[in-house]
Symmetry: C2
Subunit: 324 residues, 2 copies
């Protein structure tokens, strides 16, 4: 690949001048600019980003850390981040933490060594202490790690209330909750929203809450057991679409029908929720907007542009399909 020296030689000026036309900085006469531009075209020259990074101490690259790209929620998020990054001139390094603290830490180290300009984290384990040590712009998605940290979340509790009340309005008399893992904030919030709606009902019973671990297979088991113990249940609010799909499968295996015998509602609004039979009623998150906003914030942070907001709570809404 041609270097700036080659361009300088061909256009008979110094590298300093070439650099000036490259960056549109400082004085360059119209004549020399033309010469240089021609040389650039002729050599098909592209500035070496690595050298630039070394000097500028920034790389026009950002990192995105997600727990599991294989979970259909994250590709949609990653695409949003990447799209927006591309538009703003940044490249994205994708990191799968596999929900493993060590792997997450290793990635953080690597990203720092590579001089990424900022990182978007989707993490349940990272502490504000660790983040501060990183000493580069960070944006957190889906979890409020600290008031100081730019964060974007979704209104989980409201969504959960929406879901639970909707089931009630649909005529469900006994509504169960298939919750996500204990200690995971969004799972706890969704649980809280459910409780807000049902706790005062005279039929309510602790046994109506089971843990599906945000996983399809666990949730098949959990649902099967739930319905064995409480055959009176006629509505299930699952804290994720994946778990809702598991619940549908379990119900089918027990010889019952969705929505005739049991209504099921999910959470997230991944595209997968349109692929099932019956199609899933669900609380949809604005996943694309989530990623887009996160990246936009991050870039503002990086480029030290003023930020109006350091905290966004995006709204969710209910999409009714066939499972209720």
């Amino acid at each position: 690949m041609a270097s700036i020296k080659d361009v300088a030689k061909l256009s008979e000026v110094s590298v300093a001048t070439v650099s000036r036309v490259l960056n549109d900085k400082g004085y360059v006469s119209e004549d020399t600019r033309k010469k240089v531009e021609q040389a650039i075209a002729e050599l098909n020259y592209r500035p070496n980003e690595v050298a630039r990074s070394l000097f500028k101490k920034q790389s026009k690259t950002i990192g995105l850390i997600v727990p599991d790209i294989t979970n259909p929620y994250f590709p949609e998020l990653a695409k949003a981040v990447e799209d927006t990054a591309m538009k703003l001139g940044y490249t994205m390094i994708l990191c799968n933490s596999d929900e493993d603290i060590e792997k997450e830490q290793r990635y953080l180290d690597i990203l720092l060594q590579k001089y990424v300009d900022g990182i978007i984290v989707f993490s349940n384990t990272l502490s504000m202490d660790q983040i501060r040590k990183l000493n580069i712009p960070i944006v957190s998605i889906d979890r409020e790690i600290s008031k100081d940290l730019p964060t974007i979340v979704v209104n989980n509790k409201k969504g959960a209330k929406l879901a639970s009340s909707f089931l009630r309005e649909k005529g469900c008399k006994r509504i169960a909750h298939l919750r996500g893992p204990y200690g995971i904030v969004n799972a706890d919030e969704r649980y809280a929203g459910y409780m807000d709606v049902v706790a005062e009902e005279e039929w309510f019973h602790e046994g109506y809450i089971v843990n599906g671990d945000y996983d399809m297979h666990s949730s098949i088991e959990a649902t099967t057991e739930l319905l064995r113990l409480h055959p009176e249940i006629d509505g299930i609010f699952a804290a994720s679409d994946t778990m809702a799909i598991g619940a549908i499968k379990a119900v089918h295996k027990l010889g019952m029908k969705v929505p005739e015998d049991i209504s099921i509602i999910g959470f997230n609004g991944i595209r997968l929720s349109e692929a099932t039979t019956p199609e899933l009623t669900t609380i949809v998150q604005p996943i694309y907007e989530l990623g887009e906003t996160a990246l936009t914030m991050l870039v503002k942070l990086i480029e030290q542009q003023p930020m109006e907001e350091i905290f966004y709570k995006l709204d969710v809404h209910l999409v009714e399909r066939e499972s209720t």
Copy 2:
């Protein structure tokens, strides 16, 4: 961040010596090594990868270009590549071409500028000419762009034959094919495999082949139309799982049942195929192995290690579930 100079200063040796212990190269006395290592620990020093890249003209980074990370096939592939990359000390930049030639070219440019060491491409449009110009190691997945290019594909034709014969064995008398886009190699190959099995049947009819464009919604329409014109059809081989899911939905909407009235078989073996009702019988590809092998090849190329094979055709197998 501390630099090599800081380490040199603290341990009272030259940067050259520090570099030697860092890279375990050349002679260093046990004593000085200890001193240096201590200083490194004390300063929590990590070598700057950007400076290293600049000097070595390589970055321990690879690019992965895929058409659409939102299509469930690709996250599984990306994870395999990333996992393996991490193990071998490489970082992955994920690029979504959106099947857009220009965007693909733009990414290629960016990756070159960033000195990535190699690229894995999953592309239907790239030509060998363009690839040669890149002048860095490239591995192609799923498409044979040229005999000279390290490539890894899957036995599409065999899989298609497997699928078609399986439907016949299951007792289907009229087997249709929901094919992928014309001109896309793997779609054409799967079509060819289907033809191999059915072309000689006296019932065979050109109208049994319709295009679902590798998309769920198109395939719902295509299937609906297909069954309207040919109500005698009792088996469908879809060239992708996504299309198979569309077909299932179409069949349901027409008031028929899978598999009682119509058997449906897919292709790819994405995890999604287990989430449907009924669960999908499908030809599964070893997606993880595909990504793993591709990355291993790429790294061999990069590090100039000997390669036994420059071309892999991985086998597929049939997994029977509920849709047949």
